[in-house]
């Protein structure tokens, strides 16, 4: 590796050294308590899949360039020079970690391996060694946002085609239609709620039906929720993708931004948008609120098979939405079975951190590392596996096929929309 590149990478490393990050890097006692926490290790017991080993790949570089010990006696802490080999190790460490933060619950100090892996991801970007597909997706997402004015027309036409399907799930009153309300309102200034969906009808139709049923004054965002910048670990792109939604919410003067079923999008919006004049909520939270306030009524007789719910890591353990989905399932009349007695110990689906978005490249690893997840689901004997994240949905569907599981993976929001009582 050229010296100039190395220097640039070290600068990038330094840019990540916030107070908590420095403490995470200084503190690990390599006690190994976190070892069984990682689904990858639990499914494939190899040292390289333990959280602390992954973190050590980054920590050894930290010692080399930022610590006196690494400069005076590098062998003591096995400090490592940043070179091509280390980049390969960083790649393997970062892209075998889904950022689920289950290990953080185990660690006596609460060391956040996802944060440490964000350094690995940034160094890989700096060295042009990150997964190309993720960068491409992030770039497409950024440029789509930049060219939104040109695309507005075709986007709105596309939405028109979905309106009938929304009306199939929830018929609007004639009065509402006469008042100019549409099944999928867009760009409505003064709406109460801005809904940020994913690209795809499955993320828009059920949500729209439920908003209409609840009589919500809502509007659909022009932008898609998913933040590929966060998957690839690029802070600049993460912020660009986030900011345009924040700006749209402020322009429309909404009181609430509701994020669709996407764990990363929810966590980024909830925790990184800073202090804003609007609240950030997950769609599951909003649905639970409608039921509690009697704004929607659900048919309790529809679910006649046992159901379990997979807590998306970024929404539950890392985002705090834990009670709402359970309440919704209870209101759906489900024969509900918990995957894990304590939701904060739920196994990750194995598809986070950009792994699902990387598609076939990661398929083999995703399936092998999700063995514990498959076992966990099968133990409940549930026939419906609900979840509230597209990424988890895709991964769980893959797992279900791979392990021949007799289970149907469903979006919680669709289950709510299907059970609406007119």
């Amino acid at each position: 590796m050229e010296e100039k590149l190395r220097e640039e990478l070290i600068k990038l490393f330094e840019s990540k050294l916030s107070k908590p990050m420095q403490m995470y890097l200084e503190t690990c006692s390599r006690c190994g308590i976190c070892t069984p926490a990682c689904h990858a290790y639990a499914s494939m017991p190899q040292a390289k899949y333990t959280p602390a080993y992954r973190a050590e790949v980054v920590r050894r570089i930290f010692k080399k360039y930022f610590k006196l010990q690494g400069k005076i006696a590098p062998a003591l802490g096995a400090a490592k020079v940043l070179d091509e080999n280390t980049l390969d190790e960083l790649y393997e460490a970062a892209y075998s970690c889904t950022g689920c933060r289950r290990c953080m619950v185990y660690c006596p100090f609460g060391i956040d391996t996802q944060q440490i892996m964000s350094i690995a991801k940034l160094l890989l970007i700096g060295a042009n060694a990150e997964p190309e597909l993720l960068t491409m997706l992030a770039d497409v997402s950024v440029s789509k946002g930049e060219g939104i004015e040109d695309m507005k027309e075709s986007f709105m036409q596309g939405l028109k085609r979905l309106e009938d399907q929304v009306l199939e799930k929830w018929k609007m009153e004639a009065g509402e239609m006469e008042a100019g309300e549409t099944p999928i309102p867009i760009d409505v200034e003064g709406a109460d709620l801005l809904y940020v969906a994913l690209a795809g009808a499955h993320s828009i139709i059920p949500a729209a039906a439920v908003f209409n049923a609840a009589g919500e004054k809502w509007t659909l965002s022009f932008f898609e929720a998913v933040n590929f910048g966060a998957f690839v670990g690029d802070p600049t792109k993460t912020k660009l993708i986030l900011d345009r939604i924040v700006n749209e919410a402020n322009r429309l003067k909404v009181k609430e931004v509701c994020i669709c079923e996407c764990g990363t999008a929810f966590r980024v919006m909830k925790q990184m948008s800073g202090s804003q004049p609007f609240e950030v909520s997950s769609i599951t939270d909003v649905h639970a609120k409608y039921i509690r306030e009697g704004k929607i009524k659900l048919d309790k007789s529809k679910l006649n098979l046992p159901v379990t719910y997979h807590d998306p890591c970024q929404i539950a353990r890392n985002g705090g939405v834990i009670d709402a989905p359970r309440y919704v399932l209870q209101q759906l009349g489900a024969d509900y079975r918990e995957l894990s007695a304590d939701p904060k110990y739920n196994w990750c689906c194995g598809g986070g951190g950009g792994l699902v978005a990387m598609g076939d490249e990661t398929h083999d690893f995703r399936m092998k590392s999700a063995k514990v997840k498959a076992d966990q689901v099968q133990q409940t004997e549930a026939k419906i596996l609900a979840t509230a994240c597209e990424n988890c949905h895709a991964q769980l569907s893959d797992i279900s096929k791979h392990y021949n599981m007799d289970v149907e993976v469903k979006y919680l929001s669709s289950m709510v929309a299907d059970a609406l009582i007119q």
């Binding site: 050294l17 916030s18 107070k19 908590p20 990050m21 420095q22 403490m23 995470y24 200084e26 503190t27 690990c28 006692s29 390599r30 006690c31 190994g32 308590i33 070892t35 069984p36 926490a37 290790y41 017991p45 040292a47 333990t50 602390a52 080993y53 050590e56 610590k67 006196l68 010990q69 062998a75 003591l76 802490g77 096995a78 933060r101 953080m104 619950v105 185990y106 660690c107 006596p108 100090f109 609460g110 060391i111 956040d112 944060q115 925790q271 990184m272 800073g274 539950a316 353990r317 890392n318 985002g319 705090g320 834990i322 939701p343 904060k344």
Partner: protein
Amino acid sequence: MDTIYYLVLVPMIYLAFFVFSVGTIIRLINIWRKPKFPTTLQIYPEKKPSWLWTLFDTFLLNSARRHNPVLWFFLMVFHFCFLLLIIGHLELIKDFRILQIIEHEIFLGKGFIGLILSISLIFFLFRRFVSPTKDLSVPEDYYLLILLFLAVIFGSEMDWARTLYGYEEMGVEDYRGYLMSLFLLKPDISFVDAPGHSFMLVLHVFFANLFLMFFPFSKIIHSFLSLPLNKLRRG
């Protein structure tokens, strides 16, 4: 031999305390000067009051208890005994009434605390020779444990060594004389250099000095960082 005794018992102690305190302070200041993290790093569900749970996690090693009870047992024993030894050493400087709330003899534990500590250290060391902990460990981890073990074993067994001479040699008053002289910057090792088991003191002090000098450059900084890190997790 006298010169070696003197070097270890006087200048090396001063040096060790200097490196320990200045090094630790600089390291902590360096951390505190870093920018704040812009958002929460909390884990959910949250339990209130978070500060109380933070104390619980930090001092009772809650997650270790849940996920590795055997290791937790030894960790608790180790840290508790370590605390007792710190109290024991403070009382070798002078009487602290507050430390005698629960009345006890000086020096606390009569060597047994050190022995228990040594057993914990052997356990920590041995588990580092077994995978997967072995694969995570770096030389620093072994050296620190070995250093501590040597410091503790020579220190704790001094009291037993005294019994060989009918308990007259090098008692609490002698240690107090020696430590006070160090404190007053008028070092006098005549209290503790009598023939017999004073070599154990020199070895104890030597390894303890090395440990102290290693401290600011090692992972043992977790003794200061565990509390703020646990607070971050609790939110």
